[in-house]
């Protein structure tokens, strides 16, 4: 899969980049803000976007998911803050929610297994 990883924490980007590469995926782009994530998805046309919920000033992960929404792009909201409201908002824009701390759940979501994949 061609992936874009968006998170305002560089350590998370490093981790996901390493792990997804080891999983056999291509990391075609990274972003550290909501605006940069939208730009990267528009420019690079990935198949999967892994995006954090809180991205600092500007659009959050769900706003980004809404903006880049298209049938051939799977958006995974990768966040520490999983709540019923977050899940509902994500569903409305066609995204799934994976809680940070479980790489295996994230890998399954990237592969498209068991949607919606929430932990």
């Amino acid at each position: 899969m061609r992936l874009v990883v968006a998170d305002n924490d560089a350590a998370v980007i490093d981790l996901l980049t390493l792990d997804m590469k080891l999983e056999g995926h291509d990391i075609v782009g990274t972003a550290m803000s909501g605006a940069a994530a939208v730009e990267a998805c528009t420019r690079l046309a990935p198949e999967v976007l892994i995006v954090d919920l809180r991205l600092g000033p500007g659009p959050d992960g769900i706003d980004v998911a809404g903006e880049v929404r298209r049938p051939d792009l799977r958006v995974i909201l990768h966040t520490n803050y999983v709540s019923a409201e977050t899940i509902a908002r994500a569903r409305r824009v066609g995204a799934v929610v994976v809680e940070k701390g479980s790489l295996r759940a994230l890998r399954r979501a990237v592969r498209g297994e068991g949607w919606p994949a929430t932990t």
């Binding site: 350590a11 490093d14 981790l15 390493l18 520490n80």
Partner: protein, 548 residues
């Protein structure tokens, strides 16, 4: 709005107190009015009783005189010696009497008399009021008029007497002087009990017959006293109560100044009213002020608690986020390494585990900062002071941050300070960590140790990051002050802890704003006597200092 509502509540409460006072005043005034009416009724009753008493006495006197008049006939001839002798005997029975007796025949001619002031025998008795005695055979009290048996004004009792033919054909007149020292007036005077009280008896002509006001005796009574209203009424500054003495045709009158009459009742009441009114006003004012103060205090307390609660919630939110990030990072790198162990070469494994260690360090630093802050606020952060070479402490802190580019410039000779090495290392770690967060990736952090002109050790940690605004520099050491921009992670506790530790060591800490990046400087007092050579002091052109 809150202030307006507080004032309104205070006003309402104060107004209620004042209203209560008003109600009390109204009740007291009502009681006062009732008391006055009761007093008036009492006084009227007293005057009426006086009048009834005199009326009874007059009635009894008339009855006695009627018997006397009909007991033995009189000759009723002018100058009759037997009549004269009997009259003189009557006079001699009352040697203290200052007035005398007169005999009249059926035509009203004076036939005899005692103590006559002039020869009036044989002349008509012209005193007004005698007609009912001669014509209707009724005893009467004649109004005050000049007397015939005394030079003083007199009132007189006239009653029918039996003549020689056996019928009631003439009259006897007994005069009595109207004067201050008359026996009757002395009785009236004895009634007086107040400074302005006047008791008077007034005949049907309006002449004062007797009075405790001696100057009015024998004169016409004042018009307000002759007011035809009976009972109780006010006239000018006086109160007047009057009652009829029917048999005598007189009026009994009580007079007193209004203030004296009501004084015993209204004096204390007015004093009480004044006290109540003052107490109500003072109470209302105090209630308003106290309630307002309490409301404001409660509102301030509410604001303070809301602020504390908000700060606590923000702190919990920040800390929980900051905890999760390194925890999940640490777990993630270890999970990746273990899951792909065979797919990684040694270098990649080392790098992954190194990332895990960085996250673990971050987690450790966070928990240490939170616990340190709690200890600082409880005044319980422990220190173990000893004399140490500060160069070793700084080197140790710089080496611990293995994945950062930290350039350390230390003096060639020992720089001894009295400090807790672990706490100074904590300060250095926080300052370097802060510099790293606010610098571009792989930008150099410079740590320099020198001295101030005052001989203190001066440590400077300089970054080449985004720099601080004046406002940010002013708040840099506040608790929860987070970063130079919102994207920088952290709890906002690092510099707050540094300030607390540096000040506990007797030092100062401040922000030095630079053209590029920021320096944070702190001092420590030297432990030894010989200070290090002074070196150029970094510019302290900053608006934020956190001097100890």
């Amino acid at each position: 709005m809150s202030n307006t509502r507080d004032r309104l509540l205070g006003l309402v409460a104060g107004a209620m107190v004042v209203l209560l006072g008003v109600l009390v005043v109204i009740s007291v005034r009502d009681a006062e009015a009732n008391g006055k009416r009761a007093l008036e009724r009492l006084q009227v009753a007293q005057v009426q009783q006086l009048a009834r008493g005199l009326d009874s006495q007059v009635t009894s006197a008339f009855a006695a005189l009627a018997g006397f008049g009909g007991s033995k006939p009189w000759n009723l001839a002018v100058g009759d010696p037997a009549d004269a002798s009997r009259l003189q005997a009557l006079q001699d029975q009352n040697p203290t009497l200052r007035t005398g007796f007169l005999l009249l025949d059926a035509r009203g001619i004076i036939t005899n008399g005692t103590l006559l002031q002039s020869p009036v025998a044989g002349r008509p008795y012209t005193r007004p009021g005698i007609e009912p005695v001669l014509q209707q055979r009724k005893p009467v009290i004649l109004s005050v008029a000049p007397g015939l048996t005394t030079p003083l004004p007199t009132l007189a009792i006239a009653f029918p007497v039996q003549d020689a033919a056996g019928g009631l054909g003439g009259a006897m007149v007994i005069e009595s002087d109207v004067s201050p020292d008359s026996a009757f007036n002395q009785q009236v005077t004895a009634l007086r009990r107040g400074r302005t009280v006047v008791y008077s008896f007034i005949d049907s002509n309006g002449t004062v017959v007797a009075s405790s006001d001696l100057s009015s005796i024998g004169k016409k009574a004042a018009p307000d006293v002759l007011d035809p209203r009976l009972s109780f009424h006010h006239s000018g500054s006086n109160v007047i109560a009057s009652a009829l003495v029917p048999v005598a045709g007189w009026r009994a009158v009580f007079q007193e100044s209004s203030s004296e009459f009501q004084g015993k009742l209204t004096g204390p009441l007015h004093s009480a009213l004044l006290l109540i009114a003052l107490a109500a006003l003072a109470g209302g004012g105090l209630t308003f002020a106290a309630l307002l103060a309490r409301l404001r205090s409660a509102r301030e307390e509410q604001r303070r608690l809301r602020s504390i609660n908000a700060a606590r919630e923000e702190f919990i939110s920040i800390v929980s986020h900051e905890l999760r990030t390194p925890a999940t990072g640490q777990l993630g790198f270890l999970e990746t390494t273990l899951d792909h162990w065979d797919g990684l070469d040694d270098t990649e494994r080392r790098e992954a585990v190194s990332h895990a260690r960085s996250n673990a360090r971050r987690l450790h630093a966070l928990t240490r900062d939170v616990l340190s802050t709690a200890s600082i606020e409880a005044g319980e952060l422990p220190y173990a002071f000893e004399v140490v070479d500060v160069r070793g402490v700084i080197r140790s802190a710089a080496d611990a941050i293995a994945d950062a580019t930290v350039a350390v410039d230390l003096p060639g000779q020992a720089v001894e300070v009295r400090a807790d090495p672990a706490r100074i290392e904590q300060v250095m770690t926080n300052l370097v960590d802060n510099a790293l967060k606010n610098s571009p990736p792989r930008a150099e952090i410079a740590v320099t140790v020198g001295a101030t002109a005052e001989g203190e050790v001066l440590v400077e940690v300089a970054d080449r990051g985004s720099g601080m605004t004046e406002e940010q520099a002013a708040r840099a050491f506040d608790k929860f002050a987070r970063g130079r921009d919102q994207s920088v992670e952290g709890t906002g506790l690092g510099l707050y802890i540094c300030k607390s530790i540096v000040e506990a060591h007797g030092g100062r800490i401040w922000v030095a704003r630079r053209p590029v990046g920021t320096s944070i400087c702190f001092t420590l007092p030297l432990a030894g006597d010989a200070p290090p050579e002074p070196e150029p002091t970094p510019a302290t052109a900053t608006t934020a200092t956190a001097d100890g």
